[in-house]
Symmetry: C2
Subunit: 313 residues, 2 copies
């Protein structure tokens, strides 16, 4: 089977397990920030995971939640957003560029989850185009993108909204010449079906989450847009394969040896999210997944080295 | 009392405690590397601590131990140094520039101390001149340097060797126009006396360590060059003051409220090293030291923010 080059970039082998920087390197630097992406790339972590939403004026921006929360976002007055949750889809790019995402708010549950994250001022929500420009630099020629399309719950069943985000995002990826270095990645399988229709040249990566977990604390859960695989006879990798996926991305607690082997038989690469605890990292190395999505890329590099694995070829 | 501007930069006040990046940001990136220094500066940690030794051909290089250890140094063949401990003073700059300091060796005790440190290839021992050039960039105009002069134990009693390192280092600092942004810092008070003689325009920072501690695991201890303050009637801050110090830098376990207050009466700023554990960071904030030297600058920033302190003015 001939493979998309970016799918190869996310695939392991006998002595390779890939490291994917989650929202850049959320454990160390503000999530979904250019400085975080640059950090991950500069330590040799070529694979970046990040989240994309559309502004009111249809600019794709890199941010996780469909509303800006008080846990990490400050307004032009320098104060955390103080309860009001502003929808990304209702703000223009110029309004969003006045926000500062450089500091976690340790008064919030979410803000206490990454105690080593730097506290900075003047960090903006990046546009997708800025990240595409960053990875266009020759020194980052091996970088590949796991571009997660996020859903606003108010728009999740709105086919026109789906068509619009897919169209705008794929257009930017194509214009930047990054179609062979990008995976389109989502919990929202309806969005991925739209991607397949509009951009069959860009491979798809299917996220799954069967139950709520600690990952959801303090941020928008994705469980409401993920297909319900409650029937124990359903094989998730079979569903991913039928939907045209190249990657399957289960939460790491929801993968076992059998489902991994079955995914491999189907020709899928398997990337697990979000693996931060040293014991969990070891367990995923034991399983020999293709790729580990982590907030602490240096930590995963060190565990892989110790076990004799590399993450680049 | 008029103060050197760099001493002010290392001094706290009612709502400021300074953060000093230890060897750059050793918890996150290879120690004493340009990428580590750049990381610390780019997250708003303006104050850098690092170690300087002379090569055989009298080039000041930034590295901690007087011998290159197998815990983090690989030879041109890519293998860790495998037991042989090469003295910095017996190697030329071109030999040193063939070494790679990008990865900790997790087979060694020292190599297991920083489990989040990135694993990189092609990271060189920097020259002092390269760091001086980095901080000369306009965007790092507020950076100040805590330049630690290290002693080779074989040369510790060699006055000519002392004169040579002080002369070469001070000359580079002066030529780079960094005399008002640098502190000369050492455990070796004989070296600092020589600094005072040769460069009275650059303030001095006196390190002390009364007993061995966990900080010494796997690296050259400095205890052999530090004055012995075994007599309980000796006041260390008085000795620092008499020796012409502007800063006193005790190990954080060896500072208490009384000695801090006494140092302040003497006009000394007090910077504690090397504070990484969250409880220890809190204790140093409680004491209200002037500056905290840490391998995890983001962690200290976050604890300071939470307690209502800033680290820059």
């Amino acid at each position: 089977m001939s493979r998309f080059p970016q799918v190869t970039a996310f695939s392991g082998d006998a002595d390779t397990i890939r490291v994917v920087g989650h929202r850049g390197a959320r454990g160390i630097l503000p999530e979904n920030s250019l400085i975080g992406f640059d950090f991950a790339l500069s330590i040799g972590v070529d694979l970046l995971e990040f989240d994309v939403l559309l502004t009111r004026d249809d600019i794709p921006v890199i941010t996780h939640n469909h509303e800006f929360h008080d846990s990490a976002v400050r307004g032009p007055d320098g104060a955390f957003l103080n309860g009001e949750h502003s929808r990304v889809a209702s703000l223009t790019i110029s309004e969003i560029e006045r926000l500062d995402i450089g500091r976690l708010n340790t008064e919030t549950e979410y803000g206490r989850r990454f105690p080593d994250q730097a506290q900075m001022d003047g960090v903006r929500v990046p546009r997708l185009s800025e990240l595409l420009q960053l990875v266009s630099q020759p020194r980052y020629a091996s970088a590949c993108l796991m571009l997660e399309l996020k859903s606003d719950p108010d728009l999740a069943h709105d086919a026109a909204a789906r068509e619009r985000i897919v169209s705008v995002v794929c257009d930017e990826v194509h214009r930047a010449g990054m179609a062979d270095r990008t995976l389109l990645h989502s919990f929202d399988w309806a969005l991925l079906a739209e991607c397949r229709r509009q951009a069959p040249d860009i491979p798809l990566s299917f996220l799954t989450q069967l139950q709520e977990n600690e990952h959801d604390a303090g941020e928008d859960s994705s469980i409401f847009v993920t297909p319900d695989f409650g029937n124990p006879d359903t094989s998730v990798p079979d569903e991913v394969s039928k939907a045209g996926g190249s990657l399957w991305c289960p939460h790491f607690t929801e993968l076992d040896e059998n489902s991994l082997a079955h995914a491999r038989e189907l020709g899928l690469a398997v990337a697990v999210w979000t693996v931060n605890d040293p014991d969990d990292i070891e367990a995923m190395i034991d399983l020999k997944v293709d790729a580990i999505v982590t907030d602490y890329p240096g930590r995963v590099q060190q565990r892989l080295s110790e076990r004799g694995f590399c993450w680049r070829r």
